[in-house]
């Protein structure tokens, strides 16, 4: 474990977030989730703690901490409620992309607002007919003087309604082959919780199995106008959107891996406790070997998920390509979350099926992690491709 000794500062940061999660999140998360209610107070505390600025450089009002520290924070939040990490993640990815690919002006303008959580952000790539196959998106952005006119429909935009900024991928040149060369990223500004001219955001958002409390919406663009200055990376960014969004989603993958690791740990912790409290056939169920086997597997998965996630975070942080590591972490940690939540359900017996206990929430939240930020099938393809490249004969 030597590469993953926490620094004193990381330990203190994790302890503070853990304290918040134990005191303010765990006791209330299921109630909010069942009511599909946005956790305003929790988000305010996250803002006051400075979590939105974690990875944003200090010169822009953030804390300039690494992706590994961010991943540790996400694990803790997700241990309490995955939705909180989803609320943070839109702003995290936007800041990540603007920092790496934005113009100086865009950095100066948006990074301080994102760091202080004055505005929150959404990331919008997916369309109704195109998720994994990003290159087949249809959304167009046509130049008209100093503006671009956006038309098309986006789908599954988490934070779509409450955000003040949307990172949006559109086609500025629909004729290129391959299509990705005609794609450009936009930083679309809007007033939160409104339908601006040319943009309709149907609310309430899409109905979901889990991941409730934060809205995932459609965005319907109909001659929506955004200034040319909103192109991510300025004029030089035209045609580079696909690449920018892929780098954003790669950082996002580490974040989803961290959610998986956090959820896997939550399922384990609840099970460890329940296995000692619940008795069957004259002894705590944790003394029955079948339950012990599950606990052992759960703990191993949770620990491996954590380590793969931290490894990917450190690799990505160091710069350079990290798709193999991020892919492995995302794939393994989110499958671990799914398997641990299923085992937690088994260990809790009938109470695992009850809304009074938490495993049912874990069980509904985990599948999203296997689908979002690049499905786990796609992750396996990335891993295999990368391996074949590396080990060419």
């Amino acid at each position: 474990m030597s590469g993953f000794e926490l620094t004193e500062e990381q330990r203190e940061i994790v302890a503070a977030v853990r304290d918040f999660v134990d005191r303010d999140v765990v006791p209330h998360a299921s109630d909010f989730e069942h009511a599909d209610e946005f956790p305003t107070q929790m988000v305010e505390t996250m803002r006051d703690m400075g979590l939105f600025g974690t990875t944003i450089p200090e010169e822009y009002g953030g804390l300039g901490l690494g992706l590994d520290t961010y991943a540790m924070i996400i694990m803790e939040l997700s241990r309490g409620w995955v939705t909180l990490s989803g609320i943070l993640n839109g702003s995290f990815i936007a800041a990540w992309m603007i920092r790496l690919h934005g113009t100086d002006e865009q950095r100066q303008k948006f990074l301080p607002q994102l760091a202080s959580c004055e505005i929150r952000a959404a990331f919008s790539m997916t369309e109704p007919h195109a998720g994994s196959d990003v290159q087949s998106i249809l959304m167009t952005a046509e130049r008209d003087g100093d503006e671009y006119v956006l038309n098309g429909q986006k789908m599954w935009v988490t934070n779509g309604w409450r955000s003040g900024l949307i990172m949006l991928l559109a086609k500025t040149d629909p004729t290129t082959d391959p299509p990705h060369k005609g794609m450009t990223g936009f930083i679309v500004e809007k007033e939160p919780e409104t339908n601006p001219d040319g943009l309709t955001i149907p609310m309430p958002g899409l109905k979901k199995l889990g991941y409730k409390g934060v809205e995932s919406t459609e965005l319907v663009f109909d001659d929506f106008r955004t200034p040319a200055s909103s192109i991510l990376g300025g004029e030089a960014g035209i045609g580079n959107g696909f690449q920018y969004f892929m780098s954003g989603i790669e950082a996002g993958r580490v974040n989803v891996a961290a959610r998986g690791a956090g959820l896997a740990e939550a399922a384990l912790n609840d099970s460890l406790q329940y296995a000692q409290e619940r008795e069957a056939f004259g002894k705590p169920i944790g003394h029955h070997q079948a339950v012990q086997l599950m606990l052992a597997k759960m703990a191993t998965r949770a620990e491996a998920a954590r380590l793969l996630t931290l490894q990917a975070a450190q690799k990505k942080q160091a710069g350079g390509r990290a798709d193999l590591e991020a892919g492995m972490a995302k794939y393994f940690a989110t499958e671990a979350a799914q398997e641990n939540s299923t085992d937690a359900l088994r260990i809790h017996g009938g109470y695992g099926y009850s809304l009074e206990y938490r495993p049912e929430r874990y069980y509904r939240d985990a599948p999203l992690l296997m689908i979002g930020e690049g499905s786990n099938e796609i992750q396996q393809l990335i891993i295999a491709r990368r391996l074949l490249e590396r080990h060419k004969v």
Partner: protein
């Protein structure tokens, strides 16, 4: 850090935020690594910390501890001394009273609200039946209850900045506390043994057999509780 102490720090920080020109200083006695606990208070927003760490202070009972803390506080001359209501280990809830006595200052405990104005503290003290409103001239000692506030979480920025805040580790000698006043030598009590609380007296289980209410009533009457 004791939960009660985080309430005291929160109360101090709120007073500072309202008053502006003042300083929140954390004071503790303990081994060197107690500075890590104090750093959490610095991360919450306190300005500096003083820890008395000295092998000569090990084993201090309340008398020894009071001698040491009173020495630091005499040195600091604060306008207000805040304590948590009780410690998490032994749930003593006496130290603040002893320190106040040693400093010859007024003391108010179980504070659920606290206002400072015109050189005096006004405190609502929680009692079994409601509240007492008590005033005391400053300087004074106040022990806050856990109901006084909801302690803030340290911000990431606070955590990162805490290390750079002044943290003094001082010895008994530098405080002018003699060896005979602290540690086992300065203590006046000796723990002979520790035992579990005695088992509760006989309990009586009244089952719902149709007569239960009458039997509960008879029991209460017998105990003169009706």
């Amino acid at each position: 850090m004791n939960q009660g102490d985080t309430n005291a720090i929160e109360a101090a920080l709120r007073l500072k935020e309202a008053a502006g020109d003042c300083e929140v200083v954390l004071v503790s006695m303990g081994p060197d690594d107690a500075i890590n606990s104090l750093r959490k208070g610095l991360a919450m927003g306190a300005d500096r910390a003083t820890l008395v760490s000295d092998t000569g202070a090990a084993g201090s009972d309340i008398v020894g501890t009071t001698n040491v803390l009173a020495a630091v506080l005499t040195h600091e001359t604060p306008d207000l001394i805040l304590f948590g209501q009780q410690s998490a280990d032994s749930d003593g809830a006496v130290l603040w009273a002893a320190v106040a006595d040693r400093l010859r200052q007024p003391v108010i405990s179980q504070a659920t609200s606290l206002d400072l104005s015109e050189g005096k503290a006004t405190v609502k003290r929680q009692t079994e039946y409601g509240y007492d409103v008590i005033e005391a001239p400053l300087p004074c000692v106040i022990a806050v209850s856990d109901g006084i506030n909801e302690p803030r979480y340290p911000s990431l920025k606070g955590i990162m900045g805490a290390k750079k805040k002044p943290q003094a580790i001082v010895t008994l000698e530098s405080l002018g506390v003699g060896a005979e006043q602290a540690g086992t030598a300065g203590s006046r009590t000796e723990v002979k043994s520790l035992n579990d609380p005695p088992a509760r007296g006989d309990s009586q289980l009244i089952e719902g057999d149709g007569e239960a209410a009458a039997r509960v009533l008879a029991f209460l009457n017998e105990k003169k509780l009706t």
